[in-house]
Subunit: 112 residues, 2 copies
């Protein structure tokens, strides 16, 4: 597990990207997928994830549809048009930032 501060600013980009790739996902599914894709190194807590999904919904980046699985309600989240646009912007910014950071901190690894 990484220092939790490292994740800041990247969580929404991760969510946007997962939803863009998978069409629609529910919260628990997102947390499991992140855990799986990161080999257990990024463990999204539900205390982080659900408020983030709600905020992104409030900001117009996501919508959701509730479906009943037996008696249980699942919220499937998907990107809005605005969310798709933001995804492109966020990922571009993140990519640029990661490149800059690599250059700054690991100059010997960053090939021009």
């Amino acid at each position: 597990m990484y220092s939790k501060e490292l994740l800041k600013g990247t969580l929404s980009a991760i969510i946007l990207n997962l939803l863009a790739e998978n069409g629609r996902m529910y919260g628990y599914e997102i947390s499991q997928r992140v855990k799986e894709l990161s080999d257990g190194k990024i463990l999204l807590k539900d205390g982080s994830l659900y408020p983030a999904l709600q905020k992104m919904t409030k900001d117009g980046l996501l919508t959701y549809k509730e479906e009943f699985i037996g008696k249980r309600v699942r919220k499937y989240y998907l990107l809005t048009t605005k969310g798709e646009e933001q995804k492109v912007l966020y990922l571009a910014e993140l990519k640029d930032f990661l490149a800059t950071l690599n250059k700054l901190v690991f100059p010997q690894l960053s090939l021009a």
Copy 2:
């Protein structure tokens, strides 16, 4: 300029790395160097930098020596032994995190 949250968790790694490479630096010099190395994309505000340097000093990672340049006092910061150890740990964690994040968000760019 990047969304300010992105820098979180990386600032101390940047400072530790710069001091490790340059021996000793003063605050203003650090901010200018970061600006220069990042092509103006990371602009450390002094409201961020000086408190960070103070905290890292309090945590035993840095020490400083004051020198007078004319009438002006400069604080030259340098790594302590503990700071050198932390630098290795922080950079390893950061490198691992960046690799994980790349895999998660830019899978098509991350070659196994």
